[in-house]
């Protein structure tokens, strides 16, 4: 019997040893061969971290930053953006806009090719946009194409494909008809849902985007390796029209989720760019004067929703009092620590106005003032027949940084207004559910703009899909309608400025800060820049 007991253990140990021996050391050493700056082949390879496995590398099915960072380097839309955020021709050479702003005619560059050598024509754009709108494709971002005439109708099975407002009149000409004047449509054409797809490849192999071997794109780089959950590799696309300006030979994307680990890889030289950075690291770097540290602007605002359907948050004075009683600078400097800018409005800096910068022209739409806040709170509560604020809570999704900010706000309300608030932590999906159901008093929120225009931050239309505050203001609604009806920049921007003022005057949301984009780039890497609404771009980067 003793013998059999011992045999079981011996057998188990033997299995373990064999397993370990079989797996260890048999893997290819791709990172070793090409990683770091010491590359024996002399080719220029950049190492970055994509944070997570991309959900899809098909422009129609992509739905977030994990996909967009790779797509932005492997595809190109009709337009693209410069370092300064200027929109310049991409695959399109030129365009004309009809006077009413509804018809846009794009002329494509000559000799455009896909990475597999196929000619790229206007038909590929028409095909791709209609493919994303097709109900069977079930594209998350199909609504980005609702700007096209008949786009929403086709996607919701109420209209026909042939009625969608995009038509290739010849190989070089794409005529787009919009539902309503959209001055920022050019900006949208650089967004990934508007990228083309190779019609021939899509029809022959609908699964082309799942594998590096069959992946076809039209950008400066092409996908050449995709080890799921492990790494991705893109290499210079020899068929790209501007290939002579591309200096990198390849880019390796690691798929490391943990920000601290990615930061450690950057420190050890395994990565050339570190983004995003862990919060405490940002704090150390912001004022360190480190030459590798960059801090770009971000098209995003951090705010709290008030549930305006619940007493006493239905009262604008109560909302304003709470907003005026927090000290945003203390939050950005001591808690968020990423060089963020305190927000006294909802539209972040970096968006062009008719003249100058929209946010700079707006200035601060309210001020922090504890004495005034106390007065407003008293008045507001009296109007609601209350003597003091009843118990309420701040609902935030599970993340340490949200918790710290909520704690800071909690402390400031206690010290400045004598108001007690509890903090309620919920999983992200649960928080979303509760917001949609109106089951909260105050909830944390953030919004990243889809395109560089103030309209992308005008979320609080009555019954709007993003209006979790449940706020309704006819003046605000009318101003947005006015802005949507014109292509005239001054008139449009004036309406948008006024709309933001109306919003902040009524304060259904409490703006906290405008995000920034802190990242690190090794000093031997040049030409990396961070567009306001995208991850750091390295299309034209170089590595010494």
């Amino acid at each position: 019997m003793k013998k059999s007991k011992f045999s079981v253990l011996a057998l188990l140990m033997a299995i373990m040893l064999i397993l370990a021996a079989c797996n260890g050391g048999s893997k290819e050493t791709s990172n070793e061969k090409e990683g770091g700056s010491g590359d024996s082949s002399g080719s220029k390879v950049l190492n970055v971290n994509n944070s997570s496995e991309p959900g899809s590398l098909h422009p129609a099915n992509a739905q977030g930053t994990h996909e967009s960072w790779i797509l932005e380097h492997t595809f190109e839309g009709l337009t693209k953006k410069t370092e300064e955020g200027k929109i310049v021709p991409g695959s399109a050479e030129s365009w004309e806009i009809s006077e009413d702003g509804l018809t846009w005619t794009f002329k494509l560059k000559d000799g455009l090719k896909w990475s597999n050598g196929d000619p790229l024509t206007a038909n590929d754009f028409e095909y791709a946009w209609k493919y994303a709108l097709k109900p069977e494709t079930a594209a998350d971002y199909a609504y980005q194409l609702y700007y096209l005439k008949g786009g929403e109708a086709y996607n919701s099975k109420k209209g026909k494909e042939e009625d969608v407002g995009v038509k290739a009149t010849d190989d070089h000409t794409l005529v787009v008809t919009l539902e309503q004047p959209t001055p920022y449509f050019l900006d949208l054409t650089s967004f990934y849902t508007f990228y083309p797809i190779d019609k021939k490849v899509q029809e022959e192999n609908p699964k082309w985007a799942l594998d590096a071997k069959t992946h076809v794109s039209n950008g400066p780089f092409k996908l050449t390796e995709w080890k799921h959950k492990e790494s991705l590799k893109i290499e210079k696309n020899e068929n790209y029209y501007d290939k002579d300006k591309i200096k990198l030979d390849a880019v390796n994307f690691a798929l490391i989720e943990d920000e601290n680990t990615a930061w450690q890889m950057y420190q050890s030289g395994e990565l050339d760019i570190a983004y995003p950075l862990p919060v405490d690291v940002q704090g150390q770097l912001v004022n360190s004067g480190d030459k590798e540290f960059k801090n770009g602007a971000e098209l995003a605002v951090y705010y709290y929703n008030f549930n305006t359907k619940v007493k006493p948050f239905n009262n604008a004075k109560v909302r304003k009092a709470l907003s005026m009683a927090i000290e945003r600078k203390k939050i950005t400097e001591n808690v968020a620590q990423g060089g963020q800018k305190p927000a006294f409005g909802v539209i972040p800096p970096g968006i062009p106005d008719a003249n100058g910068d929209f946010q700079e022209n707006t200035g601060n739409l309210f001020e922090e003032n504890v004495a005034e806040a106390k007065k407003l709170l008293k008045e507001g509560l009296a109007e609601e027949g209350m003597k003091e604020l009843p118990n309420f809570s701040i609902l935030y999704n599970t993340l340490d940084s949200h918790k710290k900010i909520a704690e800071a706000v909690q402390g400031m309300w206690r010290d400045n207004l004598g108001v007690e608030v509890t903090l309620e932590n919920a999983e992200f999906q649960v928080k979303l559910d509760r917001e949609k159901a109106g089951d909260f008093e105050i909830s944390r929120a953030g919004w990243v703009g889809d395109y560089v225009d103030p309209m992308t931050f005008m979320l609080w239309e009555t019954d709007g899909a993003y209006n979790d505050a449940g706020w309704s203001n006819k003046e605000y609604d009318n101003l947005l309608k006015e802005a949507k009806s014109t292509m005239e920049p001054k008139e449009r921007m004036a309406a948008l400025h006024k709309a933001e003022e109306v919003l902040i005057e009524d304060m259904p949301i409490l703006p906290v800060y405008f995000y920034t984009k802190p990242y690190m780039v090794k000093s031997n890497v040049t030409g990396v820049y961070a567009p306001i609404n995208a991850y750091p771009n390295f299309i034209y980067a170089d590595k010494k």
Partner: protein, 309 residues
């Protein structure tokens, strides 16, 4: 023996079915849905997604369809990632987790046994104290702290091993060590106790009295018998290591199964939740099954009980 094995197998299958059913029910009753985002999705887009993934059908139909797919070993698509199916996730992630777990277990068993034996033989002397200090550190320091310390010294400061990812055998060393410390400590303590108990037995004294060499007594009689309690815990220990390495996999950027389950839940990615639950349960049930069968080899009384049924 055959009847007992078949009986155990039958119960293993029933347990697995119960796990699937319970998970399916719980999954659909918790709040949140896989397509929710900050800001509501236009109704048409939401509807198209529901139809595409068959979530518009009645729950009972969904359940039936799912069971049919599982029987054919098809765990369906991921709702969040069209580039990779749940089968791909498992086929890609499980061998990696198994490799990491096996390597950690080998380290844990090998060094755990040595530490335990040394500690018992040098009882109340410095090797004993040192072994037990290592064991206490292994049990009390969480593996993610240990992982950070290992990375800081061995990767960043001394450049001996890479920080993270899973490309070469060098990449496997630090995570295996970090993951092995807890079971190593556990085995060391158990082995020490077990050895001390065995060393006090009459047959050891008899062997010594017969004039056998000390080394012979220890290896042939003491260690072999002291190993028995270790076997008992190996099943559970293996299951824990193979399935419980989420934090280590995350810290070291290892493409294993660990994050699949947690991310599946936070994304409400129903097929991923079910797929990973099935794999984890299957591993646990299989190991319990193996241990049960191993017991019958070790202890005939269990076999008799089983056959009576």
């Amino acid at each position: 023996m055959l009847r007992y094995t078949l009986n155990r197998f039958k119960w293993a299958i029933i347990t697995l079915w119960a796990v699937i059913t319970l998970t399916f029910i719980i999954m659909h009753t918790i709040p949140g849905n896989p397509f929710a985002k900050e800001g509501a999705m236009p109704p048409a887009v939401y509807e198209n997604l529901q139809v595409h993934y068959g979530l518009d059908k009645p729950l009972l139909t969904q359940y039936g369809n799912y069971l049919l797919e599982v029987v054919q070993f098809d765990f369906g698509p991921s709702l969040k990632s069209s580039s990779i199916s749940v089968n791909d996730y498992i086929l890609k992630g499980f061998p990696v987790s198994l490799h990491l777990g096996a390597q950690a277990l080998v380290i844990a068993i090998f060094f755990g046994l040595i530490l335990g034996v040394v500690a018992s033989l040098k009882r109340n002397k410095w090797p004993d104290y040192l072994s037990m200090v290592i064991a206490i550190v292994g049990i009390s320091v969480p593996n993610f702290i240990l992982a950070t310390i290992l990375i800081n010294y061995f990767a960043i400061k001394w450049h001996i091993f890479p920080v993270a990812t899973w490309a070469t055998w060098q990449h496997t060393i630090l995570p295996s060590i970090a993951l092995s410390m807890m079971p190593l400590a556990f085995i060391a303590r158990l082995m020490r106790t077990s050895m001390l108990e065995v060393m006090g037995q009459d047959y050891i004294l008899t062997a010594k009295a017969k004039g056998l060499k000390r080394s012979g007594v220890i290896i042939k009689h003491a260690i072999r018998n002291a190993l028995l309690p270790i076997i008992t815990i190996l099943g559970i220990l293996t299951a824990n290591i193979v399935t419980g390495s989420f934090i280590i996999e995350r810290i070291f950027g290892i493409p294993g199964m660990g994050d699949m389950f947690v991310k599946g839940i936070s994304n409400r990615d129903y097929p991923v939740i079910l797929g990973s639950t099935i794999v984890y349960s299957a591993v646990l049930i299989l190991l319990i099954f193996i241990v049960d069968i191993a017991y019958t080899l070790i202890d005939p009384r269990i076999k008799v009980t089983g056959e009576k049924k």
